[in-house]
Symmetry: C2
Amino acid sequence: MKTKILLKEADMPTHWYNVMADMPNPPTPPLDPNGNPVGPEALAAIFPEELIKQEMSTERWIKIPEEIRDVLRLWRPSPLYRAHRLEQALNTPAKIYYKNEAVSPAGSHKPNTAVAQAYYNKQAGIKRLTTETGAGQWGSSLALAGQMFGLEVEVYMVKISYEQKPYRRSMMHTWGASVYPSPSTRTNAGRQILEQHPDSEGSLGIAISEAVELAASRDDTNYALGSVLNHVLLHQTVIGEEAKKQMEMAGDYPDMIFAPCGGGSNFGGIAFPFFADKAAGREVQLVAVEPTSCPSLTKGLYAYDFGDAIGLTPLLKMYTLGHNFVPPGIHAGGLRYHGDSALVSQLHYEGLVDALAVPQLETFEAGVLFARTEAIIPAPEATHAIAAVIREAKRCAESGEPKTLLFNLSGHGHFDMSSYDRFFAGELRDYDYPEEAIKASLADLPQVKFPQN
Amino acid sequence: MKTKILLKEADMPTHWYNVMADMPNPPTPPLDPNGNPVGPEALAAIFPEELIKQEMSTERWIKIPEEIRDVLRLWRPSPLYRAHRLEQALNTPAKIYYKNEAVSPAGSHKPNTAVAQAYYNKQAGIKRLTTETGAGQWGSSLALAGQMFGLEVEVYMVKISYEQKPYRRSMMHTWGASVYPSPSTRTNAGRQILEQHPDSEGSLGIAISEAVELAASRDDTNYALGSVLNHVLLHQTVIGEEAKKQMEMAGDYPDMIFAPCGGGSNFGGIAFPFFADKAAGREVQLVAVEPTSCPSLTKGLYAYDFGDAIGLTPLLKMYTLGHNFVPPGIHAGGLRYHGDSALVSQLHYEGLVDALAVPQLETFEAGVLFARTEAIIPAPEATHAIAAVIREAKRCAESGEPKTLLFNLSGHGHFDMSSYDRFFAGELRDYDYPEEAIKASLADLPQVKFPQN
């Protein structure tokens, strides 16, 4: 039985797919704290012109420069798998496929945009990129991409991860990046937090504040973000474009597509190219899977909020738990974000994208079953999609429906084995829905006037 | 520029290549301590019949059962890469190719034989496999393979690695195996060592003794070895078979092939299928690369010696540093073995296989350069081949020769990042050639009569 569906290097996408071209309503603009749309010039302090253009563009197809494809081909196209062994273990009539993004040298889908961002910054004459990272998936991807184009990379890593998961830090060093625990004393934002909370373990929001502050204050330095923004999701659409071709080669088409959803690039990457079909009338259900302990899409408010913890970024219209919300310490670090991509949020608000929240223990059970059937040990982020797929496949086993399910295996768990250890030792737990904390954080949302358009 | 040469699943080898069919002289037989050849019946206590047949067979091609190919296809065929970026960094006219065996779920070439061994044991009605592991590449591979065929796996892990590198242990747990630090109190061999050396950090030789003892004493339990033996090298020949097809697709043929050499399966796996060409008159140089601190092929004696530390295994004619030799604590755990495959040893003795020893710091420098050009962070074992290739590519840069170089990227370094940390911190060092220790160990070689044939 055939297991992998492989594309040739020549079949690697030549263009990114821009979902903004097919959305039923125009995308909501970013706003400044006074409620005025943020124009390109305001973003120019931290982003190169080409990325700002992509952030605003409504062109359906945007050409991928050859220099970017030349790096992506180090691991792309990534394989699509038919999960025969998982299907057997579940005794389900469902057909399960997964796109394996764990094959990148950094071990996740993140390099797809890191490489593009490094390239455009290099072209714009930038010498150095700053960024934040949680468990390190994004930081290591940008370190790799910076190395490929000869850019310095400075990473602000959430302190608790810096201390508890040192090996992604080592990976960043191997690729030549500098890594600092955040909050650090290198920025006003970091010092401000440390004054109020000297023992702060950090958060993604805080680390973003630090990285943005440094990029804004230095001419030769820009900032790179690993998710949330439109251009980041755009760069990830190579995943879904390849998956579409591969599903066609398999003679199949997904009824449902699942992906983990933190900032949205993992989900947007695989789902958006299929959204094009959905917009054209084809039936396909797109399901963003998030942790029950950080449930922005399923329990958040659709409102304008800051992307970071301090309030340095423009306001984005998104499902948010409030920028002050600090999620419980679940082991899927990449999903511990208070907000969500504006594009994913808008499509969810309009009923075109579904969302589902799963608890931590269920995700680890799913991860272990996956490892013991399909052999690959998945990252805790990826196990969220697996848990959702397993739920659906079991439903199919009951109903007898032979649905076709596709998910994004967004990364491997080689740097998350301590999380698996704790799971096996019975030290992990589920968290109650953090209702009070979310209520308090949402009460603190910035008050803005909505724009007229 | 094309980077990867990919085969389809259908192109995965259907037969293993048995180098014994093409060796100019018959392979040396294993002996018992009295100098008598060890027959199949003596091996039957710890190996299934099919593997014993393969150990002795001189058939050129041995069919790979479909059940084995069905598991191998989870990651095989593995990609062959052209290392454009490394070539550029070295400014060499040499063309550098590498076979990427890091793509297996366990992260190395080891599962190629683990899957085969698990299958044949399952077929023979065995319930449980015991084995040893150093840093854990082999133990995790057998854990994975056992899981795929429903066998229990019990791993004896060299104590210092068990304590210092816990995450491969976690990987084994995730795949359902039991893992014990060796020397343990579970075996006579372990207790004997602990009596003499209560603080023993363990060694591969000791761990082999423990695993073999348990397998020999239980009817439902067999033993699996990750290298050295003929059938193990046989199973690894899928690497070289695929590489030959891929080099042909690239319109090229290697002048030199490099692979790390500890027990020999890494080297034999990629080199033996090309040896078939060499035996037929084609020019190709096969280079086994070992650490200067554990230089069995370059400084050892070609003699009969035990495969383990205690003297439980049959005697093999091999290049050995003596079974009592405990190699310095270099970070390429998989290359810390006192002996070598009998097949590789014999071919080296006959001048058909070359050997080269490289010091630890040079291997880490090579690994970092590789990571910063080709993006993949290599395992410390694999960096030995990279160091040798870099030497040769620099030689080509001086001479202007456009040689074609191929090496086996046998594994990634995701579980070796602490070694990279120590390298960057300047805490690693080279070791003087351990002349005295080797001399003492060699003085203790078993005295055997050579067989008549």
